[in-house]
């Protein structure tokens, strides 16, 4: 075993696949017995569907531990860090925890406690330490969101320490574009994919809030230029998301477009209720138009619910690609297990 126990890429993929099977069952894409069979397959790592709650409760415990040590006069940062990170390692190595929640909170909380416990006055450079801690924790527990937090800390550092909105803004844009290039391609590693997707989702909106916070004159040319660049970026993200069918890129573009639209609407100097009604009406009209436009589509971009697409017309079309990509192993398995005639789940005498 390596110094840092980690799942192999295949193990991480299988874990994700197994978790997705639950969603597929809810969407009616697979049957209950198939889900049972997938979940019955031996899983080398454990994950949890109550991850967020376990994460928050554990983070609360780490905070209580830190302040408890501080209260009794023990060096809180270093002791909490040792206890929390050791417990996280134990969970990962012995318990084979991956995305369960507690191990993530312990690792991140432990590192943050170490930084918070450092002697001396608080300095902006501390943001870089938090960034490094986030990156390390993200890599250790394979959490993409922690990595994004690291980027946000760096952007905040650039904005605060160098007092340069432009630099922070460009940093966010550059990381977004780089992550977008990864996110729009098919990648095999779930962690790299998660990092890229979360970065694409979070950093554009972070850059928007940076502009709102640091640029004092909302009517000024500089502010408008930033908003115009963000509007352009949102259009690019929406276009790219639709073209490559990458959901996170699309969502990021939509989120940024909403933020830019709200910002622009504030320039109109209209009353709040007028803006709300106009915005709601516009959004409803857009949703209605898109739904109508995609109403009859069953392939490609569609407005139909996932799982509601299996129609007699589409089944032959869907069957074709499967035949071209027959599994490498045991190609004759279906004949051995199936019925005497038919197929695709309708075999006779099965």
């Amino acid at each position: 075993m390596s110094v840092f126990a980690r799942p192999t890429m295949n193990e991480a993929r299988w874990l994700r696949f197994s978790a997705l099977a639950g969603k597929w069952k809810r969407d009616g894409l697979i049957e209950a017995d198939e889900l049972t069979r997938i979940r019955a397959a031996p899983a080398p790592w454990r994950e949890s569907s109550v991850r967020i709650i376990l994460f928050l409760l554990t983070l609360l415990a780490v905070a209580a531990l830190y302040f408890f040590f501080q209260e009794i006069g023990v060096p809180a940062g270093i002791v909490t860090s040792i206890i929390a990170c050791s417990a996280a390692e134990l969970m990962i190595r012995r318990g084979r925890f991956l995305h369960v929640g507690p191990e993530e909170a312990l690792f991140l909380g432990g590192l943050f406690a170490l930084i918070l416990g450092l002697p001396g006055p608080s300095q902006v450079e501390g943001l870089l330490l938090f960034a490094a801690a986030s990156f390390f924790a993200g890599w250790r527990v394979l959490n993409g969101l922690f990595v994004v937090a690291g980027f946000v800390f760096i952007a905040a550092y650039l904005g605060l320490r160098l007092e340069s909105l432009l630099l922070a803004f460009l940093f966010c844009l550059a990381v977004t574009v780089f992550s977008g290039l990864i996110a729009k391609r098919f990648v095999t590693d779930p962690w790299i994919n998660a990092c890229a997707e979360w970065t694409v989702l979070v950093l554009p909106i972070t850059s928007f809030f940076l502009v709102r916070t640091m640029e004092n004159d909302p009517a000024g040319t500089r502010f408008q230029t930033y908003v115009a660049v963000l509007a352009l970026l949102s259009a690019l993200l929406i276009g790219s998301g639709l073209k490559t069918r990458a959901r996170f890129i699309l969502l990021s573009g939509l989120l940024l477009a909403a933020a830019v639209a709200i910002q622009l609407s504030l320039l109109l100097d209209a009353r709040a209720e007028v803006l709300l009604i106009a915005g709601g009406g516009l959004l409803l009209a857009i949703a209605w138009s898109v739904t109508r436009w995609l109403r009859d589509r069953v392939t490609g971009l569609t407005a139909r619910r996932v799982g509601a697409l299996e129609t007699p017309e589409i089944t032959p079309f869907l069957a074709a690609p499967l035949l071209h990509t027959e599994p490498v192993e045991e190609p004759a398995a279906f004949e051995q297990k199936g019925g005497s005639f038919g197929g695709a789940g309708s075999s006779g005498s099965f």
Binding site: R13, R245, A246, I277, G280, K337
Partner: protein, 313 residues
């Protein structure tokens, strides 16, 4: 983007998935089919929320300029139009096929109706001292609509109106906590009765989870408010324990993890509060230690329950 095409094909070869399921899954994994159903639903919900909020503010700000009669008429017409669209779609599905927007158009109509009825009552005092009865009227209207249109969204709105009628949304002033808790528990008891009555409508069995969530959340809220009142602390603790145990049992019976989460979260709050206020007193270090221990206990309990539920599934 991740694609689980290799795992799906491997699953078929290992007999975990059928060929039929693989045919359903592969177009999504290959991005040959890309559904934006969820995004459109979210956009529609957001649009309805914006419209309802905007109209609410508009009504409040324009009382003097337009007069109540005009506003009430306009809101009634808008609400009726929403209901009419859905009724038309229901009666002539060939001509107007249903779409994902329907549920939210219905919600908009119901929200406009609620706002209009509340506004009319505030202007004309039709029910005078019994003005809170208009919540009951709304609960009935939304409830009947929920059954007619088979809409869980309207059912939630109806249950919220019922909770308001029982006084759950009373003033949160000093000394009001105990009464608030009692009213929350009354609303919960009424929801239990309604859920029992729902047995007469087998076609609306899908409503049961909505009732269950309301019952447990209202009960736990009421019990926790009692717990924080020194006069009812013991009773509150008993109710929290009782409802939590029932909620846990229900989670194991149905496999719905959310009820286990509600139970453990409520027990965590109750036990931490009791430990800090009853046993530890004002000692900060011991209070933090108590919080640490209860947090760890809650994490372990939730994880164990989660594992057991997973095994049972």
């Amino acid at each position: 983007m991740l694609s689980f095409e290799p795992e799906i094909l491997e699953g078929v070869s290992k007999g975990l998935l059928t060929e039929r399921s693989a045919r359903r899954l592969l177009p999504y994994e290959r991005r040959e089919t890309f559904s934006i159903y969820g995004e459109l639903r979210l956009a529609t919900w957001l649009a309805v929320s914006l419209l309802a909020t905007g109209i609410g503010i508009f009504v409040t700000r324009n009382l003097r300029q337009t007069g109540p009669a005009v506003l009430i008429t306009v809101l009634a017409l808008a609400s009726a139009a929403c209901y009419a669209v859905i009724l038309a779609k229901r009666h002539a599905p060939q001509r107007w096929p249903s779409s994902l927007l329907d549920d939210y158009i219905l919600l908009l109509g119901a929200l406009l109706l609620s706002a209009n009825l509340g506004y009319a009552e505030s202007q004309y005092h039709l029910l005078d001292a019994f003005w809170t009865e208009h919540f009951l009227l709304l609960a009935i209207i939304h409830g009947v609509s929920a059954y007619y249109f088979n809409s869980r969204t309207l059912l939630s709105l109806s249950l919220a109106s019922l909770a308001s009628w029982s006084g759950f949304r009373g003033d949160l002033g000093v000394g009001q906590g105990t009464a608030l808790a009692g009213r929350a528990l009354i609303a919960s008891a009424l929801t239990v009765l309604w859920r029992l009555g729902n047995r007469a409508f087998p076609a609306r069995e899908s409503f049961n989870p909505v009732f269950d969530h309301f019952i447990v959340l209202l009960s736990l809220f009421g019990a926790l408010v009692w717990l924080f009142d020194p006069r009812f602390e013991f009773l509150g603790l008993l109710v929290v324990i009782g409802v939590s145990v029932a909620s846990l049992a229900y989670a194991f019976k149905t496999g719905h993890e959310a009820f286990a989460v509600y139970a453990i979260a409520a027990l965590f709050i109750a036990v931490t509060y009791e430990l800090i206020h009853r046993i530890v007193g004002g000692n900060a270090a011991l209070s933090l230690l108590a919080l640490l221990l209860t947090s760890i206990a809650a994490v372990i309990a939730l994880y164990q329950v989660h594992r057991r539920l997973k095994e049972e599934r």
